[in-house]
């Protein structure tokens, strides 16, 4: 399968592949804006975008235009950024740590974000100045810094990073549970639970203007280091002997992954499985060279998340499921399939 996809890419050329990827992404966004409780024709979606971007002046129902532009499209854009960021972070961390179970949350970021979120939402930290996403972002960074310091103290090896991440995650998850059981009302507990499972309901354009640059800059930095990541195939020692500055690469790539993940978690909560499963799916499709793998994972992650969001909105009429439930429901069997396939091929 890998060879087929690579042959397809080389036959249409690099420009063709990029063009195709953009077409797929736009189609997914289009779908995300059209499908929902009230189905809106694709044509109306296109006209809305034309009206908003180029003031094309098509006469449309204001309510349709409002739903497409203010609710669904912003949501789909954020979903795409979130899926892409988590998938790219997953690829980077799995490669750097040489651990197939690494995911963006291994650095304690989601645990820290949830503690930050409950700190703001339940304990009222920040005295009204901090919003819940800001609290989550601060919490994510605090957890990441703590985990990094612990890992550095433990010797900076890949096992040290993973163990420090596990310890940090446990600590912050325990703090979150402690705060929720001690101080939250039943209503608050339910709200926090919903947020922790990932939720795109409140997402609007200002969130997109944060998510888009974070995702694009993150992808760009990782792509810049694509060859360095390749050099880690046989471990950090060989990367060093191939002239890679191991320490600098770790700092840059772990840092940018943490940044991307923290931004996404603060906007939509901690959506599981995307950062773990999509990298493996992308590797099976396009192989292990990061120059191709990173953009492929970003695209698959983006499309997967848009589709998961659509499903979360339409699966139960009149109710929005947490998107994390969908990604895990789809992700867990997908992961099982991937594992089965790995074994068959080995």
């Amino acid at each position: 399968m890998t060879a087929d996809v690579n042959r397809a890419i080389s036959s249409i050329g690099r420009t063709g592949a990029v063009f195709l990827a953009l077409v797929v992404l736009v189609a997914a966004l289009w779908l995300g804006a059209a499908v929902g409780e009230t189905a809106i024709p694709f044509e109306v979606v296109a006209k809305t975008v034309a009206n908003r971007l180029w003031a094309a002046g098509y006469p449309l129902e204001p309510i349709d235009e409002g739903i497409v532009w203010s609710y669904r499209l912003s949501r789909a854009v954020v979903a795409a950024c979130c899926g892409a960021s988590l998938a790219v972070s997953g690829v980077v961390l799995q490669s750097l740590l040489r651990n197939p179970l690494a995911d963006p949350y291994i650095l304690g970021i989601s645990a820290g974000a949830s503690t930050g979120a409950v700190g703001v939402a339940i304990l009222g930290l920040g005295a009204g100045f901090l919003t819940l996403p800001m609290g989550a972002f601060v919490g994510a960074l605090v957890a990441f810094v703590l985990v990094s310091l612990l890992a550095a103290k433990a010797g900076r090896g890949t096992a040290a990073i993973i163990l420090a991440g596990v310890a940090g995650s446990q600590l912050f998850n325990a703090l979150t549970s402690f705060i929720v059981t001690k101080a939250a009302t039943a209503e608050q507990a339910r709200g926090i639970m919903f947020w922790l499972l990932g939720n795109l309901s409140g997402v609007r354009w200002p969130d997109a203007w944060l998510a888009v640059p974070a995702a694009l800059s993150g992808l760009a930095v990782c792509l810049w280091h694509a060859r360095s990541l390749d050099a880690f195939t046989f471990g950090a020692e060989q990367a060093a002997s191939l002239g890679i500055s191991v320490r600098r690469t770790y700092l840059a790539l772990v840092g940018i992954s943490a940044m991307m993940t923290a931004v996404m978690v603060s906007i939509v909560g901690s959506i599981g499985f995307v950062g773990l499963v999509i990298p493996h799916a992308a590797r099976l499709l396009v192989g292990v060279r990061h120059g191709v793998l990173l953009p492929a994972a970003a695209l698959i992650g983006a499309v997967f998340m848009i589709v998961a969001d659509i499903l979360s909105r339409i699966l139960i009429p009149g109710q929005v499921l947490p998107i994390g439930v969908i990604t895990a429901l789809v992700g867990a069997p997908a992961f099982a399939l991937i594992l089965g396939q790995r074994r068959n091929r080995a």
Partner: protein, 273 residues
């Protein structure tokens, strides 16, 4: 003189691994580094390759401290083949060799047809061209190690550093691999376990013991029955041939070595009391 260690020391976790080692790797020679497990061979290789910094002393590459040259510059001049570097990634034989071009590539200097040619030549050189499309985990230990050498050759270095490259290979592959290395027009420094192979392939041997360099010279001068007993704790006879080569025959099981036994007894009594 191309690569030299000047009074280098190195320690890990409070234990001194290398103490005050000085040696030159001469242009064009095949230098063997021998010594028992834990004598510091691997650490010495890592220091010579510039991937570890000595605690004191310095390593000079073409007269310049290796830490002053950038990693990429070093990787273009010398290549290191580690002991059994492994991967769980699904890479092909060819992709493993392509990694050797890393020090020449960057975001702004992409892969070129010239890189393709170099990789193909390296695959030919290590006799792996016919398996270039095979996945790494389907290859044998000998094939994997040949690919590591191929990757090192793709770096187009002047110096090749090998850390126990023949570990876990059968005798045919061990000799084949060392012969392959010998045929390259390169300066080679290799940590080796087998003293007969060291005698067969190396121009000079460096003998390590307890982190120190205890002897350096031609195999026939360095490999004496007395030194083998002192360093390895093994009784052996060394036969010298008229062509200047030598080979070693180990005695089956001799009386326990006096230098080893008291230490063991001490540790046992220490534990009891």
């Amino acid at each position: 003189m191309m690569l030299s260690a000047k009074n280098v020391s190195w320690s890990a976790g409070g234990a001194e691994i290398l103490r005050d080692v000085s040696l030159d790797v001469r242009a064009g020679e095949f230098l063997g580094v021998i010594g028992p497990n834990g004598s510091g061979k691997t650490s010495l290789m890592a220091l010579l390759a510039g991937i570890r910094r000595p605690k004191s002393g310095e390593v000079l590459l073409d007269g310049v401290p290796i830490g002053m040259l950038g990693g990429r510059e070093v990787a273009r001049r010398l290549a290191l083949v580690e002991q059994q570097a492994e991967t769980g990634e699904r890479i092909t034989a060819r992709q493993a060799v392509e990694l050797g071009r890393t020090p020449y590539l960057g975001p702004l200097s992409p892969w070129s047809p010239e890189d393709d040619a170099i990789v193909e030549a390296a695959l030919e050189n290590v006799d792996m061209a016919h398996l270039s499309g095979r996945l790494w985990h389907t290859l044998s230990g000998g094939e994997r190690q040949r690919l590591h050498i191929g990757r090192a050759l793709a770096q187009q270095p002047k110096i090749l550093l090998l850390d126990e490259p023949t570990n876990h290979l059968d005798i045919g592959h061990q000799i084949g691999l060392l012969d392959l290395v010998r045929r390259q027009d390169l300066t080679v420094a290799a940590a080796l376990h087998d003293l007969n192979h060291a005698a067969m392939f190396c121009d000079r041997l460096a003998v390590m013991q307890g982190g120190r360099l205890v002897a350096l010279g031609a195999p026939r001068e360095v490999l004496t029955a007395g030194r083998i007993r002192d360093v390895f704790g093994v009784e052996a006879e060394v036969d010298h041939e008229s062509d200047g080569s030598c080979h070693i025959r180990y005695r089956a099981v001799g009386p326990p070595h006096p230098a080893v036994r008291p230490a063991r007894l001490e540790s046992i009594t220490g534990r009891v009391s």
